[in-house]
């Protein structure tokens, strides 16, 4: 029975390593969360966006508790470095996401960065933001077999209801 963990094995570790140290990793993610709350859509390396997503959604869950809650206020105070965003979080984002149960963010991959590193980039945005949409939902064409059959069925039902 192995009682100690070998240095190079990382089975089951969920958190990625960023920056110079664990504190630096939290600072990096904190900057990203602040930027997301301010601009509502940011473009960053995919790994950072993925890591930050969990923290952002938990912050919104805390904000839903209301700004009278002491823990919620302390969390918002730590995670948002620009203090005018605390007002935005409690007054704009919490009411916007009150009807939603979870998944307040959308993470989409974009083509690799143009620089030398060709990094895998992603754009992460809060749902319901006022900016133009990134992906237009596409309906299936009317010419597909299934849609034609459904259209015929609908017409039959209408005719039956009419007569």
């Amino acid at each position: 029975m192995r009682l100690s963990v070998a240095a190079a094995i990382s089975h089951g570790r969920v958190y990625r390593r960023f920056g110079l140290s664990p504190r630096s990793r939290l600072d990096l993610l904190r900057n990203l969360v602040t930027a997301l709350v301010r601009h509502e859509r940011i473009e960053t390396p995919w790994a950072r966006a993925d890591e930050m997503r969990g923290y952002a959604e938990r912050l919104i869950d805390y904000a839903k508790r209301g700004d009278k809650d002491e823990r919620a206020m302390r969390m918002a105070d730590f995670w948002l470095t620009e203090k005018d965003l605390i007002h935005k979080l409690f007054k704009v984002l919490a009411p916007r996401f009150q009807p939603h149960a979870g998944s307040y963010t959308r993470l989409l991959q974009i083509p690799n960065r143009d620089g030398l590193d060709r990094a895998k980039m992603a754009v992460i945005e809060l749902k319901g933001n006022p900016l133009p949409p990134l992906v237009r939902p596409r309906r299936d064409s009317d010419r597909t077999l299934l849609n034609q059959l459904l259209k015929g069925y609908r017409q039959d039902v209408q005719r039956a209801r009419g007569t």
């Binding site: 859509r41 203090k83 006022p130 900016l131 949409p133 992906v135």
Partner: protein, 181 residues
């Protein structure tokens, strides 16, 4: 066993033999014999020591075969056929991508799980212009509003859904891909 025998019929030859033997002995046992050796004469043959001690540390110069570090080197030239087999093995070729599709909006190529580059660049440019308008309206840094925002284009009036929202105006016609809610 070494037999020590000195015998000589003539005194001159005997002297010569003695001198030769003395030199030999001096060569073999330099520590034992000093500048002069005691006189030798006829003696009985006795069994001498089994091992004649040699110079222990006279390995001489180690030959080139021992000092050089041996490394692997190819013995034969690899033929072009063998080289081709190795270079063109499928695990060395670039993988072909089968996840490339055509974007239904603009017709450019895109990967299936990635956003279309052209459409994303279009949206990015429009958001940049909207953000410039927002910055002009806010006037300075750290002035995030406490109300929602809505973007209106030329000739558009705010609907009843946009009651308490901050209005950002863009001086152009509404693009077809940005549908008003």
């Amino acid at each position: 066993a070494v037999l020590v025998l000195v015998h000589s019929p003539l005194p001159r030859l005997r002297a010569l033999l003695q001198r030769c033997w003395g030199r030999l002995e001096r060569g073999l046992w330099p520590a034992v014999f000093g500048s002069q050796s005691p006189p030798w004469g006829p003696a009985l043959a006795v069994q001498g020591p089994a091992l004649v001690p040699q110079g222990i540390s006279d390995a001489g110069a180690p030959s080139l075969l021992e000092t050089v570090v041996w490394m692997a080197a190819p013995k034969q030239r690899r033929t072009i056929e063998v080289n081709r087999c190795r270079r063109r093995n499928p695990n060395k070729l670039i993988e072909i991508k089968r996840n490339i599709d055509v974007c239904p909006e603009c017709g450019n190529l895109k990967q299936k799980h990635v956003l279309c580059g052209y459409c994303y660049a279009k949206v990015k440019e429009e958001t940049r212009l909207i953000r410039m308008e927002i910055y002009k309206k806010e006037g300075g840094p750290f002035n995030a509003p406490t109300a929602e925002t809505v973007v209106l284009y030329e000739g558009e009036k705010p609907t009843e859904k946009d009651e308490g929202k901050r209005i950002i105006e863009r001086a152009r016609k509404r693009p077809s891909w940005f549908v008003q809610n």
